[in-house]
């Protein structure tokens, strides 16, 4: 927000602050990021600790919501199995725009140590990811840092969501497609 010296006495007690629409909207978006209550594996334990009193996500305006309709952020916390991938994608589709995704932990990032037939090798195969959070499992401080990085990213975005390009996937054939 623009910093201005406001003389409250001379302007009839009316505080004035000048800003742009983008900054105002992004200020609102970034300071009330509501993640979806959605845990997949052991990373979810760390995610729960982040939300609980010791690490206290609430002080950052981050409150876990139990419905994807009310959530802005999807934290994919843990191993995504192929059986479950369809439902993770469905939850992502049910979230309203604007929405962001944090891939939490090695398993969500790359499949991690589960180099097997039953694990999705990186959730970005099915869902566009904004922040990749390394660690096995990442500590709550790290998740808070990821959330702060996401806030930083949102503040740089345009208020008009159509102008924001989500993750582009470049293929071996050179074709580019947007994973909507």
């Amino acid at each position: 927000m623009a910093q201005h010296q406001v003389n409250y006495a001379s302007s009839a007690g009316l505080p004035i602050a000048l800003t742009s629409v983008d900054k105002l909207v992004n200020w609102g978006r970034s300071n009330s990021l509501w993640p979806l209550t959605y845990g997949l594996a052991c990373c979810a334990i760390e995610m729960m600790a982040s939300g609980a009193s010791r690490y206290d996500f609430d002080r950052m305006g981050t409150i876990f919501r139990a419905s994807p309709r009310q959530a802005d952020v999807m934290i994919l916390a843990g191993t995504l199995s192929k059986k479950h991938s369809e439902f993770a994608r469905r939850l992502y589709d049910q979230m309203t725009e604007p929405k962001w995704v944090i891939s939490m932990g090695s398993c969500a990032n790359t499949g991690g140590m589960f180099n097997t037939y039953a694990t999705v090798q990186g959730v970005d195969r099915i869902i566009p990811v904004d922040i990749y959070l390394p660690g096995c499992a990442p500590r709550p401080e790290t998740l808070q840092y990821a959330m702060m990085m996401l806030q930083k990213k949102i503040r740089k975005e345009s208020a008009d969501m159509k102008k924001n390009t989500k993750q582009d996937l470049t293929t071996q054939t050179g074709k580019r497609a947007r994973l909507i």
Partner: protein, 260 residues
């Protein structure tokens, strides 16, 4: 440190094979326990072979008799719990599965393993009417091995998705999945036309290059970063700091005369 053995191409082939190595076997003994003798007598001629292994009675039966044997064991011998049931893939060796049931008698604190050999393609009778735990165990066996179970109330995959192809615990099933498995989530969510957009899975091949001196170094065989060791590396003795090591024979140390 152990003697250095060259481990060239260790992922592809075993570097050490002993022609005279025999797989260790759990010792088997004859049935002497009075309770187990009563069990063997109750099962009667349906048992092909009986012995005791690690304190557990093992009974080999024909796959056709599994329900009757299990009924005898439950109603006459007090084996009221079926703690585990599954199969072992011996298809390459014998074209057969080995099915086993692990039973528990809580009053006697005794366990029994019932084993049968089932030819590939044949079905087994469900023991779900006797043991409710067999419901999920038989579904898992069907899911993982493709062994059909007759008269099961709800025979359906339990771990893998319903539209999955292949049985993952078969020894012929690749660990990292066949083609169906590798494209499963893409096909299911986006459709097959998205395959070339999303691309194949990027998997860690876990290959170890023994001549790679940029990422690996062996203790006692350290070489400079990026050095060529295709001709072999020389052993460098490990030097220990004297100040770091504790000299327990030092005269200055004092033994306490009595416990404080």
């Amino acid at each position: 440190m152990r003697k250095y053995v060259p481990k060239d191409n260790v992922q592809a082939k075993s570097y050490y094979t002993d022609r005279f190595w025999v797989a260790p076997r759990v010792p088997r003994s004859t049935v002497e326990d009075t309770h187990f003798l009563a069990v063997v007598e109750a099962v009667g001629t349906q048992a092909n072979e009986t012995y005791v292994e690690l304190g557990q009675l093992v009974i080999h039966i024909n796959p056709k008799n599994n329900f009757e044997v299990m009924k005898t064991l439950k109603e006459k011998c007090g084996y009221t719990q079926c703690s585990e049931q599954s199969a072992v893939d011996y298809l390459a060796q014998d074209n057969e599965f080995e099915l086993f049931w692990q039973l528990l008698n809580i009053n006697e604190a005794k366990r029994i393993r019932v084993i049968c050999r089932l030819a590939n393609g044949l079905a087994i009778e469900s023991i779900e009417p006797l043991y409710k735990s067999a419901n999920f165990a038989e579904r898992e066996m069907f899911d993982m091995f493709g062994i059909k179970v007759n008269n099961h109330p709800f025979l359906k995959r339990i771990l893998m998705p319903d539209d999955w192809e292949g049985n993952p615990l078969l020894k012929t099933y690749p660990l990292q999945g066949d083609e169906f498995a590798s494209w499963y989530e893409v096909d299911k969510i986006f459709g097959k036309e998205y395959r070339d957009i999303i691309g194949p899975e990027n998997r860690d091949p876990a290959k170890i290059d023994t001549e790679d001196t940029k990422r690996f170094s062996r203790v006692g065989y350290e070489v400079p970063f990026g050095a060529d060791i295709s001709e072999g590396e020389t052993k460098t003795a490990i030097e220990y700091s004297e100040t770091f090591l504790v000299d327990y024979n030092k005269n200055s140390s004092k033994q306490l005369d009595e416990r404080r």
